[in-house]
C-alpha cells in the first residue's frame, strides 16, 4: 500500500512538472511539498468523498487553503476522478476552469482559495454545522506555514478549540520557506507546534513526505476527543527536484523544456 501511495505521489509530481512547463508557470515549491499530504488524503481512504457525487450530503470536506499550490491539488482531484486527467492540459489556459487559484467551478473544490487565511475560519463553520446536525462529516484544512502568519488563522484556531471541534483537522505544510525566504527570517513561526498546543489543539508533528506516517495519523483523527487536530507536516519546499528543493527561487516559476525533461528524469522517466 505504501508503495502504491509512493507511486501515486510520483504521478502527482509529474503532473505538477507538466503544468509548470506547459503553462505560464505554477507554484512549484508549495505544490511539490504538499504532494504526499494530498496523496494520503485522496488515495489512502482517508477522505470520504465521492467523485461521482461531489456534493453528496454528509461527505468529508477538504479545504485546500493554500490555493496557490493548485497544480498539485488539480493533479490529485483529476487522479481521484473528479474530472478527466486530460483536462489538466488546460491549466491556466484561456477558457479553462483550472485557474491559478482553485474555485468552486472545479468539481471537488469546496472553497475558492488562494487569498490566504480564509480556509480555517470557513472550516470552523463547516465543522460546527456538521456537529450541530449530527453529521459524520469531518473537515480537513490544508494550510501553508507562511499562511499561518495571517491573524485569521489564529482567530479560527481559538474558535475551533473553544467549540471543541474534534471533527476539524488542520494539516500544515511546514516546508519552512515562503515567497520572500525562510519563514524564520521573514516572520518567525517557531515554536510552531507549541503555538497550536497552546491554542488547545491536539498537535502532532510528522514527516510530511512519509506516506506511512501520514496515513497512520490521518486514520487516527481525532487524536483527542473534544479537541481539533493539528498535524504539522514537515516537508521540503520543491520536494523531488534537485533544482527546486529548499529554495524560494521555485516558489513560482515556469519550467523550460530542458528543465522539464530533467525534472521528469529525476522523477523516474517521462509519463
Amino acid at each position: 500500500m505504501v508503495n502504491d501511495l509512493a507511486e501515486r505521489a510520483r504521478t502527482l509530481r509529474k503532473h505538477v512538472v507538466h503544468l509548470a512547463a506547459d503553462s505560464p508557470g505554477a507554484h512549484v515549491g508549495g505544490s511539490m511539498s504538499v504532494v504526499e499530504i494530498l496523496t494520503t488524503l485522496y488515495f489512502d481512504g482517508v477522505l470520504r468523498v465521492d467523485p461521482a457525487d461531489p456534493a453528496r450530503p454528509g461527505r468529508d470536506r477538504l479545504i485546500f487553503s493554500k490555493g496557490h499550490s493548485s497544480a498539485a491539488y488539480y493533479a490529485a482531484l483529476a487522479e481521484a476522478g473528479f474530472f478527466p486527467v486530460s483536462e489538466l492540459d488546460t491549466y491556466k489556459k484561456t477558457g479553462s476552469r483550472l485557474a491559478g487559484h482553485p474555485h468552486t467551478g472545479v468539481p471537488g473544490v469546496e472553497l475558492a482559495t488562494g487569498s490566504l487565511g480564509h480556509g480555517l475560519p470557513v472550516g470552523v463553520g463547516l465543522a460546527m454545522a456538521a456537529q450541530a446536525q449530527g453529521l459524520p462529516s469531518r473537515v480537513f484544512v490544508i494550510v501553508g506555514d507562511g499562511e499561518c502568519q495571517e491573524g485569521s488563522v489564529w482567530e479560527a484556531a481559538m474558535a475551533a478549540a473553544h467549540y471543541q471541534l474534534d471533527n476539524l483537522v488542520v494539516i500544515v505544510d511546514r516546508n519552512g520557506i515562503q515567497e520572500d525566504g525562510p519563514t524564520e527570517e521573514i516572520m518567525a513561526l517557531e515554536p510552531f507546534a507549541d503555538k497550536w498546543r497552546a491554542f488547545g489543539w491536539a498537535t502532532v508533528e510528522v514527516d510530511g513526505h512519509d506516506v506511512g506516517e501520514l496515513s497512520n495519523v490521518l486514520h487516527e483523527v481525532p487524536l483527542t476527543w473534544s479537541r481539533p487536530t493539528a498535524i504539522i507536516a514537515k516537508t521540503v519546499k520543491g520536494k523531488g527536484l534537485s533544482f527546486s528543493e529548499n529554495t524560494n527561487a521555485w516558489h513560482y516559476g515556469h519550467l523550460s523544456a530542458d528543465l522539464k525533461q530533467q525534472a521528469l528524469q529525476e522523477l523516474g522517466g517521462a509519463s
Binding site: L111, S115, P121, V122, V124, G125, L126, A127, A159, Y163
Partner: protein
C-alpha cells in the same frame, strides 16, 4: 402605534421606541423558532439586543469573540454546511474590518448569510469616528451577489429581515442604532428591490432611505410643498423602473442619505439617471471626510443638515 404587536402572536414591541436593529433581532428570534437552521453569529456585541436570543437559543448563539475575520468566515462555512446564519455586529466591523471575508467567503460562494449591521452612519454620535460607518454602503454595493437594504424604521426592519432570510443569498442590512419615528404600517409588505412612493408630488423627486432620515425627509417635504418622496430601502438592486418613472415626470431629483455622498444611495441613483433619465441631480449626504466632532445623534444630523430643516434648506438653495 403597536402595529407589530397586532401582526402576530408572541411579538410585543413598541415601534416608537424600538430600534431597527432590535426589530431585526426580534425577527431573527422568530425565524429561529420557525426554522431550526437559523443561528446567530456574534462578535462580542451580543448584548446589543441579542441577549434574548442567547437566553432562548443558547446552542444557536455562536459567539466568536472579538474576531470578525473568523466570525465572517465561519458564518460562510455554517451556511455552506446547511445552517442559516445571521451575522450581527457593527456595520463598520463586518464590511470593512472583514471586507475580504465578506467578499470571498460569503459573496463569491453566494453563501446565504444575512449581515445585520448596526451603528451605521453617524448614529454612534458620542462614540467617535472609529464607530461610524459612513462608507459601508459604498463597499457593500461594489460586492457581487450582495443585496443591500437600509430600512426606514423598526417595522420595515422586521419585515426586511424576514425578506432577507427568504432571499436565501447574501444580504447586508443597514440598521442604524437609534430608534426613529415610524414610517410604515406593519401590514405593508416588503419586497426586495422595490421602492415605495411615500408622498406624491410633481416639482421634484426626493429619493431617500434609512432610519430617521426618511421621516426627516418627509417632514422637509411637507414644508417644501409639491415634491415626491420615494423610500428606496433596497439600494442594490435599486428600483430602476420607479426611479426613471418619477424622475421623468418631475424632472429633478434629490437624494438624501446618512452616508458619504461617494458610493451610497446618491451614487446608485446617479448611475441610473445618467444612463436612463438624465435630469438635474443633487446628492445630500455626509461629506467626504471623517466625522471628528462628537455629539448626540440629533445634533450630528443638524450639523450635517440631514434633519428636516437642513434638508429643506439644502433643497431650496439648490432649486432657487
Amino acid at each position: 402605534m403597536t402595529a407589530l404587536a397586532d401582526l402576530r402572536e408572541g411579538v410585543r414591541f413598541d415601534p416608537a421606541t424600538t430600534t431597527a436593529f432590535e426589530a431585526c433581532r426580534l425577527a431573527q428570534l422568530d425565524l429561529a423558532r420557525e426554522d431550526p437552521r437559523v443561528v446567530s453569529v456574534e462578535a462580542d456585541l451580543g448584548d446589543c439586543w441579542g441577549l434574548e436570543f442567547r437566553e432562548r437559543m443558547p446552542d444557536r448563539f455562536l459567539d466568536f469573540g472579538i474576531a470578525e475575520a473568523s466570525a465572517v468566515g465561519a458564518a460562510a462555512g455554517l451556511a455552506m454546511g446547511g445552517k442559516r446564519p445571521f451575522l450581527n455586529t457593527f456595520g463598520t466591523f463586518a464590511l470593512m474590518r472583514a471586507a475580504e471575508q465578506v467578499r470571498l467567503d460569503i459573496c463569491y460562494h453566494r453563501a446565504p448569510v444575512v449581515i445585520a449591521g448596526m451603528f451605521t452612519g453617524i448614529a454612534a454620535g458620542f462614540s467617535g469616528p472609529t464607530h461610524h460607518a459612513i462608507e459601508d454602503v459604498s463597499v457593500a454595493r461594489a460586492l457581487p451577489n450582495l443585496t443591500v437594504i437600509a430600512p426606514a424604521d423598526a417595522v420595515q426592519a422586521y419585515d426586511a429581515t424576514r425578506a432577507a432570510f427568504a432571499h436565501n443569498a447574501p444580504v447586508y442590512l443597514r440598521l442604524g442604532v437609534e430608534p426613529g419615528p415610524q414610517v410604515y404600517d406593519a401590514h405593508e409588505s416588503f419586497e426586495i428591490g422595490r421602492g415605495r412612493v411615500l408622498r406624491e408630488g410633481s416639482r421634484l423627486t426626493i429619493v431617500t432611505c434609512g432610519v430617521t432620515i426618511v421621516p426627516e425627509v418627509l417632514k422637509a417635504a411637507e414644508r417644501l410643498g409639491d415634491v415626491e418622496v420615494i423610500d428606496m430601502p433596497t439600494i442594490k438592486p435599486i428600483d430602476r423602473e420607479l426611479l426613471v418613472r418619477s424622475a421623468s415626470r418631475t424632472g429633478r431629483v434629490v437624494t438624501v442619505e446618512e452616508h458619504s455622498t461617494i458610493g451610497g444611495l446618491g451614487s446608485a441613483v446617479a448611475e441610473v439617471l445618467a444612463e436612463h433619465a438624465p435630469v438635474p441631480l443633487r446628492r445630500i449626504g455626509l461629506p467626504d471626510a471623517f466625522v471628528k466632532e462628537i455629539g448626540d445623534y440629533a445634533e450630528q444630523l443638524r450639523r450635517f443638515e440631514l434633519d428636516a430643516e437642513g434638508v429643506e434648506r439644502q433643497v431650496r438653495a439648490w432649486v432657487s
